[in-house]
């Protein structure tokens, strides 16, 4: 039963993530004054990529890509979807934060194995960016833990149930603002997309990925969108009463990120880390102090 659950939850997360990507592309297109691709375009892309021949450089590259996807799927299983989850766990935030790093590390292993300098610069930027957003993210999470006396996401989500006015976004608005900025960096959207910057490092980590590897990379991205927006819904938007409610809230959060993505140019990596360490961290610290005292 648990195995079937895990497979179903994974497929659900991938599907939702891919459709979100398609809708995001459509929204960007409308902001560019274009018509845009159909909302299921990303699914077509994945099928095509999986059917192509692909180049591998060595065993580490194969392993790394699978590890990245597996790490993020593992993270996803700990995120409660409207109170449901694949197996019984207390969905501890610390575990999730720990597992989320595996995705990035797997990607780092895979792309550095390719030996392309663009990919190496790109992934070193991605890891630096992780260093940048983990600190404000952890401070926000600390605030949530303190206010709920629990590090379980299920508990945090359940505490907001009932009315819309129970949502944490009203209780800790500063934390929400900090999280919104941090989320932009976590999803790698502009202005924090220095790692994939096509004009600088020719799409960074993805430079040497072809066919199935790029497909796995896209799937990883889709799952990461699901996980990160899911965390946001659980933290600040009451976790949703049913899965459809949950997904709609996720979509809203994703579209805010997409809109910001389209109106900002990108920071350099050092500017981005500096920004993340000053503004969201500062706001989150103020929120933490307000909650603590």
């Amino acid at each position: 039963m648990v195995v079937i659950n895990i497979i179903l939850y994974s497929l659900f997360a991938i599907l939702v993530g891919l459709i979100f990507m398609g809708i995001g592309r459509k929204v960007s297109a409308r902001m560019h004054l274009r018509y845009g691709p159909p909302f299921y375009q990303s699914i077509l892309d994945i099928f095509k990529l999986m059917s192509r021949k692909s180049f591998t450089h060595n065993f580490v590259m194969d392993l790394g890509m699978v590890m990245a996807l597996a790490g993020l799927l593992g993270t996803m299983l700990y995120v409660p979807i409207a109170g449901h989850s694949a197996f019984i766990s207390n969905s501890n935030i610390i575990v999730i934060m720990y597992l989320m790093a595996i995705g990035s590390l797997g990607m780092a292993m895979a792309v550095t194995a390719s030996g392309n300098p663009n990919a190496t610069i790109g992934i070193s930027r991605a890891l630096t960016m992780m260093l940048g957003y983990e600190i404000p993210f952890f401070i926000i999470v600390l605030g949530l833990i303190i206010s709920n006396n629990s590090s379980s996401i299920s508990v945090i989500a359940a505490s907001q149930a009932g009315s819309i006015w129970n949502w944490n976004i009203w209780h800790m608005p500063l934390g929400y603002i900090a999280m919104e900025i941090t989320l932009q960096a976590m999803m790698g959207e502009k202005p924090f997309d220095a790692m994939i910057a096509p004009a600088e490092v020719a799409s960074g980590p993805m430079v040497e990925l072809s066919g199935k590897y790029l497909g796995l990379g896209l799937l990883t991205h889709a799952v990461s969108i699901f996980v990160e927006t899911g965390l946001m819904v659980n933290f600040f938007f009451g976790g949703g009463s049913n899965p459809i409610d949950f997904v709609i809230k996720q979509l809203g959060i994703y579209l805010i990120a997409v809109i910001f993505d389209n109106i900002f140019p990108r920071y350099k990596i050092e500017q981005a880390v500096k920004f993340l360490w000053i503004f969201p961290t500062g706001i989150a610290v103020v929120q933490l102090l307000l909650l603590a005292f």
Partner: protein, 204 residues
């Protein structure tokens, strides 16, 4: 050396591909990624087809940063000898299946640069081409029409130039060598060349 024409051969036969091949062909045709490489001035008409007026992303066609990720190689205009070298390298880096579209008259027969010492006349002699677009430069409508035509060719399985490259590699390689692997001057007049050496300069 004989060149096998797959498109004709295929049309004579019935469409006896397996269902799975048909399905993959459909997905491939709906998600063609093109390489972001402006080889010549034809690249100037690519931004218009990517922006609001013609918006090629409707068909799932988006520019990609590196040859590894791309399905279509666009030869946007004349290919100089140096560019041809890079085009071949780029083409060989792309994973299969891959398709090539040649833009403009100058890729077909040299166009207005037919007698230039540094531009290739027929790009099709060096790498296999699926579709060529005539004109200098082709209008965005022509490019869009070509893209849709390529989508249909991919869907029906006619676009097989990349297999032609593998099967007739000897022919293409011989042409490429003729262009790049020159060891001696081509024209006799090269013996007139004055080579300056330092000792001569210092005697004065």
């Amino acid at each position: 050396m004989q060149i096998i024409n797959y498109a004709d051969e295929e049309r004579r036969q019935e469409d006896n591909r397996k269902l799975w091949d048909k399905v993959t062909a459909y997905f491939r045709s709906r998600s063609l990624w093109m390489l972001h490489y402006c080889t010549g001035c034809g690249a100037m008409e690519l931004p218009p087809i990517m922006t609001s007026r013609w918006d090629i992303e409707r068909f799932g066609i988006v520019p990609m940063a590196t040859p590894r990720q791309a399905d279509i190689l666009l030869l946007t205009g004349y290919a100089s000898t140096n560019t041809m070298k890079r085009i071949i390298r780029t083409y060989e880096q792309m994973p299969e299946p891959k398709w090539v579209i040649a833009f403009g008259s100058c890729t077909v027969n040299g166009g207005m640069y037919w007698d230039s010492y540094n531009t290739v006349n027929n790009v099709g002699e060096y790498i296999p081409i699926d579709i060529t677009i005539a004109g200098c430069m082709p209008r965005p409508e022509a490019i869009l029409d070509t893209m849709v035509k390529l989508m249909n060719m991919v869907k029906s399985g006619d676009a097989k130039a990349f297999q032609k490259y593998k099967d007739n590699y000897g022919y293409y390689k011989a042409n490429q060598d003729k262009l790049f692997a020159r060891t001696a001057p081509v024209l006799e007049s090269a013996s007139l060349k004055y080579v300056h050496n330092e000792t001569e300069g210092s005697e004065q």
